[in-house]
Amino acid sequence: MTTVTNRISSTYMAIRPFFKRKVISTILIYGTLPVLFVASLFLGQYDVSPSHVIDLLGAPFLNLLPEEIIHVNPSWTAAEYNIVYVIRLPRVIAAVLVGSGLALAGAAYQGLFKNPLVSPDILGVSSGAGFGAALAILLSAGAFMTQLSAFCFGILAVAITYLLSRFYRTTPTLILVLSGIIVGAFFTALISLTKYLADPYEKLPAITFWLMGSLAAVRYTDLLLVAPPILAAATILILIRWRINLLAVGDDEARALGIDTKRMSQIIILCSTLITAGAVCIAGIIGWVGLVVPHLCRMLVGPDYRKLLPVTIILGASYLLIIDDIARNLTSAEIPLGILTAIIGAPFFAYLLRKRSVGWT
């Protein structure tokens, strides 16, 4: 009898820390995002009380109910309504979309290239998009055309990278990375050229600020434009996520296991490019999210893409929400996002590496 009890209790002791850690980390991972989402709506230069934010968020749903059951008395002012619904909500949604998108694209690329040091702009999408935006600003093309131009040039840059890699018939992924470096350098030079040509009092600062990244100008129309490609591409990546594991192990082995590796890499490149180009065209160039977040997630849940991708999406969104909150609250003037992601991301990354549980060798 005692042996049985002992065995049960020893089994329990053995699994308890694992169980406890798993439950707590799951709650933390998934619970943080909604809290941050609501918090981001009342944080800002203009004070809106948390209770008003929650009332405001609940109102559209409560209004759906018949008047007799519940009557919503507005506790908020018109200014608060504008602040929350017109200015902050699209911005917060954009941060979620961009953060999760960049992190997801980075994680997918790290599997495709079998390299944990890869970020979403490895194939030149950010440089291309940056040039597209800079060119549009130089030609005084307006906000919508700037976004469209950024999106198209981002995709064009990756297309050039891919076609360039087809010229050489050696190790495909290595050549892809090298082609990406070539195309990236080319478009970076073109960005410098547009800056050099730009009027230094008006357009040069505009280009420079655009390149540093910001979510300040995001409106619902921008979201409607980029959300469909980002969400569609993200859905595909999520659906094939188990198979990314096979690519991460090796090309030959994946093919021997019946995977069409060429088509699979085309799908991953296409989806990641759509996501990144969509993110960059509304937010500018935001580095580090796509590199640091997948790392952090791999440390938390391991390398299996079935678990890794959902957690990456959630933490990517949370990370950029925090960064954006800091960007608009730390000082009276906004701090560009690209600067903050690196200033916070780089030391954080250094700390992660120091802990030696990086999840890769």
Binding site: G111, K114, N115, P116, R169, L239, I240, R241, W242, R243, N245, L246, A248, V249, G250, D252, E253, A254, R255, A256, L257, G258, I259, D260, R298, G302, P303, D304, R306, G359, W360, T361
Partner: protein, 287 residues
Amino acid sequence: MILEVTDAGFAYPGGKKVFSNISFSLADREVLCILGPNGIGKSTLIRCLANLYDLCSGSIRLFGKEMSGLHQVEIAKKVGYVPQAHEIVFPFSVRDFILMGRAPHLAAFSAPGKEDYEIAMEKIELVGIEKITEKPVNMISGGEYQLAMIARALAQEPAILLLDEPTSHLDFGNQVRILEIIDQLAESGLSVIMSSHFPDHAFLTSNSVAIMKYGTFMAYGLAEDVVTEANLRQTYGVDVSITYSNDVARHICVPHRSGKCRCGSKLPTGCSGNSSIVEPPGGSSTM
């Protein structure tokens, strides 16, 4: 015949010819061991058999069907490929690693289910690595990794297992353990093709042996007929003795130290180093 190879030839695009005129067939439960010096094309041949490379000439027929006309998924359900050990960047657990072998049986958008886990566990038990299922695959020993790769190939539930030098990088005990497992697999109904650097392994497991040299099969047939002192001297440029050991009830292959062999009476040409190598047809020795 499960696998029939006729006049197979392969050359890298724009590069030199690796092999040509290779013909052989593989029967049910047969173990074919391919011997040959480094860089002769054993791995390339095995990759061709897994349809990773396309042949330049000749044909490979899998269960009577031309392999080049089959979809890779169809091939993956019949042929399991165990490559040479290499480093893996991401620390997948051994179980997740072996689960990857279920890929040919799963649709593009699906992930392994309960049944796949059961098959993976069954293969894990078959090769005897139950104790390390949760360990990261890049933290286990070379022998365990080799076994994990074999288990992954078995999870494909193939009819043919291709093993590219399964015993290289392994210590003596693990080499024998791997060969025993290969033996058991063949008895349980699998056909096996493996490459090896050790002629002795041919006697340990194989029914048939092929020696690759001069860009083709120099010799092919039953182990006792192919693994001969003359053939091995010609292949590797070293002298060996092949004797029957009553202790282990099989032939064994023992190398001599170059220039110091005591086989003068048997070999009229003497055996000082490389002097007795037969020149390859139409070329000089590159030993």
